[in-house]
Amino acid sequence: MSNKTHDTDVAFIEALAELLRKNDLTELQVKRDYGPDDSLNVRVSRQTAPVTQMAPQAQVLAAPASAPAPAASAPIETTMPEDPAAHPGAVTSPMVGTVYMQAEPGSDPFIAVGTAVKEGDTLLIVEAMKTMNHIPAPRAGTVKRILIEDGSPVEFGAPLVILE
């Protein structure tokens, strides 16, 4: 590899890192083909934003469940000590929006850590374009962790709740 290619590669990787940061992504993988047997594989990843718990009580109860369970199929490649999105029990946001933990201000939240839910029960609401999206439990289980705060913005694919 010539120095010139090396420099452009470094610039390219720096641009990717900037893209990652700007768009609040956690991981980005790109392959560049320069010619036969000459390619560049880049994988850039970073820590997600610190996880905010709902209440002090939630933190205490959540602690024993914080170690990610091993995935049943292929091992998950991760550079992070703990990635809630990779947790098999993670329920992720289907869209960009704002999270609400209760049906309306002042009413009880849909769930708390320890709540047993049935498949289809509303876990929380994600609002976008004034559309209130009720996010249902994909299966029956117990809420182990709540990874978002009422009123906070979420990105597509962001882990919301760990259900076990």
Binding site: V96, M129, M132, P136
Partner: protein, 247 residues
């Protein structure tokens, strides 16, 4: 006004809320259906805000099941519903110059709040979308009942002298909605977005977006292809997906 093909029509004397009734009907969904209630005992607006609905005002919900659509696309029906409601007002005789749209789904009459639209989607199997529409046909709530800084409530009758009963208004709205829904499904968001922008209030003017934990002020530039409100702020362009907008 011809009732649109493929849409059901239910008129109830009284119900808790048409949105609650719509959600109960997701489980036995057999096609899009409008539910009109002559009176509601537990009417509500966004985030549980009370919605005052005296007899003679309009309250209805449309039950839909947008098959195979991603949630962010389903949510674009905020704009579809706003355009349909705007058109229904025109149909009953309101001049277009008296009407304007406020992001994403408020219809303003003489710069006042004459209606409210609330969309609730239940994701997953057995889910659906309920689009609730409330219109102050004959009476508006007391201005003191609304949030400080919010658009002042007005009624169709008091502003224009036009007296329409809920049922004929539903006929106008259902026909307009079906036409906009068909455009949205066939051609996507772009024609909806263009029509919405054409009727929007305050483009190029300063607005304030009040979000959960922060408030953002800037120039209302446009609505992006994802439906987000684009604000030009001192810190650059910002796309807002969930906020209350204040002029």
């Amino acid at each position: 006004m011809t009732w649109p093909v493929g849409y059901g029509r239910v008129v109830l004397a009284s119900v808790d809320s048409t949105q609650a009734e719509a959600a109960r009907r997701f489980a036995r969904f057999a096609g899009p259906e409008w539910i009109l209630a002559r009176s509601q005992t537990a009417a509500r607006g966004r985030r549980g805000r009370p919605w005052l609905a005296p007899a003679g005002n309009f309250a209805a919900s449309l039950v839909l099941r947008p098959d195979g659509e991603a949630p962010e696309r389903v949510a674009l029906r905020s704009f579809v519903a706003a355009l349909a409601l705007h058109e229904a007002f025109e149909h009953v005789g309101v001049p277009r110059s008296a009407l304007a749209l406020k992001w994403p789904n408020d219809v303003l009459l003489n710069e006042g709040k004459v209606a409210g639209i609330l969309l609730e989607a239940m994701q997953g199997a057995g889910g659906g979308l309920a689009i609730g529409v409330g219109v102050n046909l004959i009476a508006a709530p007391d201005p003191e009942a609304v949030e400080t800084g919010a658009v002042q409530p007005v009624s169709l009758l008091e502003e224009t002298g036009i007296r329409v009963a809920p049922e004929p208004f539903l006929d106008a709205l259902a026909a307009a909605y079906a036409a906009w829904e068909a455009r949205f499904v066939t051609y996507g968001f772009e024609p909806v977005r263009a029509a919405w922008l054409d009727r929007a209030a305050r483009i190029g003017a300063p607005v304030t977006a009040r979000m959960g934990h922060q408030t953002l002020s800037g120039i209302f530039e446009t609505v992006d292809p994802q439906g987000a409100l684009v604000l030009q702020t001192d810190a650059g362009r910002r796309a807002v997906t969930a906020a209350d907008i204040f002029f």
